[in-house]
């Protein structure tokens, strides 16, 4: 452990940028985007400096901590606002600030016609700051602050064009579904505090050995709920598709490269909990396996290029979650896939943004076609990302995805066979829908609207795409050369030693490539050999219809949660009106009723008052007489 006092600048710089841009208002319109980009870039520079420092130290001394201030101090419960930068966090810091800076640069051009570009950059900076706090917090409570911060930034950015009601609804949907996950995280923190008595990573790791498995399982499951919410995993995945309502750079940064991978970070960071709670770990694997197929199937039916990519993101994060659920052997591969995915998916999203930019913001792929000649740079960068996600050697996905497939097969027994098959199947479907995206967008005949004039995007847009494409090509090779990333992360995880091998790596790679080839071939036969309709055909099989509706996830949520929720609310409203308001009104009416009865006594006749007094006095005397007799 080393202490440092420069970690805070990582977060403080973008936060300062966001504050200035939000407070300065319209005055900052002229230079807001430059300030935002500079803040992000300088945060990246601090990250690089930290990495260089870290490389110069031994494994034990690599984690860096910084105590900011004493946050909560109640009895034995002490939480410091502290930062922790270790081998895992630095990967995220560089990904967030690096890809973040590229996307800032891209957005300068992409958002140049937008009236509110300054506000956009303010939110982007806010997101970077919150996401860095998420990965740098040294306890679950600090992480939680960043966790909520990225949720807020995501909400603000999805609804950036909130003058369109559908977009505002999409941002609300994302926010509400994320709340469910957030509740899981807060429950996990509460359980950890109640059973272990501390919420810091270090403290829980120390006490995990002598904590009951039940408590750890409960914490693990709650953490998984949190991860499913933020990372759009089954069953809380429905918001990601609608989140594409945000500007495309947002989709690239938040809903592909960084924020949605927070769940993977959470599970990897909590490795000491999941390793000691096999049930929770199994659930993680199941969630990952379901989502990777779920997302892939949705991806096959989407005509909206961004939604197809969103479904692909869901599916790829499913791979990461599955990898993280496989225990110590899988964490490093999950993180590796996360990093490579950060490059190629962000690159492809920026490519999609570039296509939309040239096509009057058209997102329907059936209205594209033959764009290869008009957008050569976009085509090449997108194509490199495409090869990377397919897992074609030697592109990035080949190293990261194959490692997850291999680890899944080697998980042992029936579980390994099921998981291996699922991941292979996922790779095949991925190849199919990504090839479909490529063919529909870049090849074939043009199916544009008449007013479309496709053109290549300006330098500020294609430069980030090119850099990300280089990352898509090389990151897998660089990270896996000599097990670089695995060895880098190794000190964080506890190894159990035994390494079972069901299938050798070469066989797994062969199988995966065969699946990919089949997927690509089917896509070619279906979309390249035949004419593609410019309007989505209606006479399709029931499976396509279901896939087009996101496998009924919205219908399911509406039927199971929304309608009963509305009915419950109705009942509560009626109960409120009848019982609670009724009681209040009843008291009033009782007072008024008894008043109107008693008012009759107030006749205004002195004689009747006198008679009443007389009767009362007589009764009183009679009573005294009876009692004292």
């Amino acid at each position: 452990m080393t202490t440092s006092n420069s970690l805070v600048y990582l977060i403080a710089l973008p936060l300062l940028g966001a504050t200035i841009l939000l407070l300065a208002g319209r005055r900052a319109d002229k230079w807001g985007h430059i300030l935002g980009t500079l803040m992000s870039a300088s945060s990246f520079a601090v990250g690089l400096y930290q990495l260089s420092q870290m490389l110069g130290r031994t494994n034990e001394a690599r984690p860096v901590t910084q105590k900011l201030f004493e946050w909560i101090s109640v009895g034995t419960f002490n939480v410091d606002a502290g930062l922790l930068l270790d081998q895992l966090s630095i990967c995220f810091v560089l990904l967030i600030t690096g890809v973040g800076t590229l996307i800032h640069i891209y957005s300068i051009s992409y958002m140049s016609h937008d009236h509110d570009r300054r506000r956009f950059f303010a939110y982007l900076n806010l997101f970077i700051a919150a996401m860095l706090l998420l990965v740098l917090g040294n306890s679950y409570l600090n992480l939680y602050v960043g966790w909520e911060g990225v949720g807020l930034a995501s909400y603000l950015l999805i609804g950036f064009w909130n003058h369109k009601p559908a977009y505002a609804t999409a941002s609300k949907k994302a926010f509400v579904m994320n709340r469910i996950g957030d509740m899981g995280l807060s429950f996990a923190i509460m359980i950890a505090f109640a059973t272990i008595g501390t919420v810091s990573f270090e403290g829980i790791k120390e006490h995990a050995h002598h904590t009951s498995t039940g408590a750890l399982t409960a914490i693990g499951i709650m953490l998984l709920v949190a991860a499913t919410g933020k990372s759009a995993q089954f069953p809380l995945q429905a918001w990601l598709g609608d989140a594409m309502a945000g500007p495309t750079p947002v989709s690239a940064l938040i809903h592909a490269a960084t924020m949605v991978t927070a769940g993977v970070y959470l599970i990897t960071r909590s490795n000491f909990i999941f390793d000691a709670a096999p049930t929770a770990q199994l659930l993680v694997v199941i969630v990952g396996a379901i989502t990777l197929l779920f997302g892939a199937l949705i991806g096959t039916a989407k005509d909206d290029i961004k939604k197809a990519l969103a479904a692909s993101t869901m599916s790829q994060i499913g791979y990461m979650i599955l990898g993280a659920g496989l225990g110590p052997v899988g964490y490093a591969f999950a993180i590796m896939h996360l990093l490579t995915h950060g490059f190629f998916k962000a690159g492809m999203f920026l490519g999609a943004g570039s296509v939309m930019h040239g096509m009057n913001d058209e997102v329907n792929m059936r209205k594209y076609g033959a764009l290869r000649k008009f957008m050569p740079i976009t085509f090449v960068t997108f194509g490199l990302g495409y090869l990377a996600i397919l897992g074609v050697p030697p592109f990035a996905g080949f190293y990261s995805k194959d490692m997850i497939i291999e680890t899944a097969f080697n998980a042992g027994g029936i579980k390994g066979i099921i998981l291996g098959t699922v991941t292979l199947l996922g790779a095949g479907i991925t190849a199919f829908y990504m090839t479909r995206v490529m063919i529909l967008t870049f090849t074939g005949k043009s199916r544009w609207d008449d007013e479309a004039h496709p053109h290549e995007s300006p330098l500020l847009m294609w430069l980030p795409m090119a850099i990300l494409a280089i990352g898509s090509v090389s990151s897998g090779f660089l990270l896996s050369r000599g097990d670089a990333l695995v060895n880098w992360l190794a000190p964080l995880f506890e190894h159990h030693g035994e390494h079972k091998e069901l299938l050798s790596p070469i066989v797994v790679s062969g199988l995966a490539l065969a699946m990919v080839a089949i997927g690509v071939a089917i896509a070619f036969l279906k979309y390249s050999r035949q004419e593609v309709a410019a309007v989505a055909p209606e006479d399709v099989s029931v499976f396509t219809k279901i896939a087009r509706q996101d496998l009924m996830q919205d219908r399911f949520n509406e039927a199971v949660f929304m309608r009963p929720g509305q009915q419950l609310t109705q009942v509560l409203v009626k109960t409120d009106e009848a019982v609670i308001d009724g009681a209040v009104r009843g008291v009033g009416q009782l007072a008024m009723g008894s008043g109107s009865i008693l008012r009759g006594l107030q006749s205004g006749f002195v004689r009747s008052y006198a008679a009443l007094i007389l009767v009362g006095a007589s009764l009183l005397i009679a009573a005294i007489w009876v009692v004292t007799k």
Binding site: Q602, G604, F605, V606, R607, L614
Partner: protein, 99 residues
């Protein structure tokens, strides 16, 4: 003569006064009936003084007379004022607070 007879007379006078207050409308008559009730009480006090052989009852009778005198002063003033403003001495007419 038995002292209890004075008490019977006192009760009789008090009852007559009370009934008069309740049934008569004329404010002056009601007022006189109240005086009758006060004096019935006085008679009872004096009788008790006689029965018990001490002066307590007689002392209280003096207090009652003082109170009665004050009451006459205030009460008659009110009645005269009401009569002047309303041209009527009926207690049933004086119900302005009700209306």
């Amino acid at each position: 003569m038995d002292a209890a007879n004075y008490l019977y007379l006192s009760a009789l006078l008090f009852t007559i006064g009370a009934v008069g207050v309740v049934v008569r409308r004329n404010a002056i008559v009601v007022f006189m009936c109240i005086e009758l009730m006060l004096n019935a009480a006085n008679l009872a006090f004096v009788t008790f003084s006689r029965i018990n052989g001490d002066l307590n009852g007689q002392v209280i009778a003096f207090f009652t007379m003082v109170v009665a005198a004050c009451e006459v002063v205030v009460g008659l003033a009110i009645i005269v004022t009401i009569y002047r403003s309303r041209r009527s001495a009926s207690v049933d007419d004086a119900s302005l607070l009700k209306r």
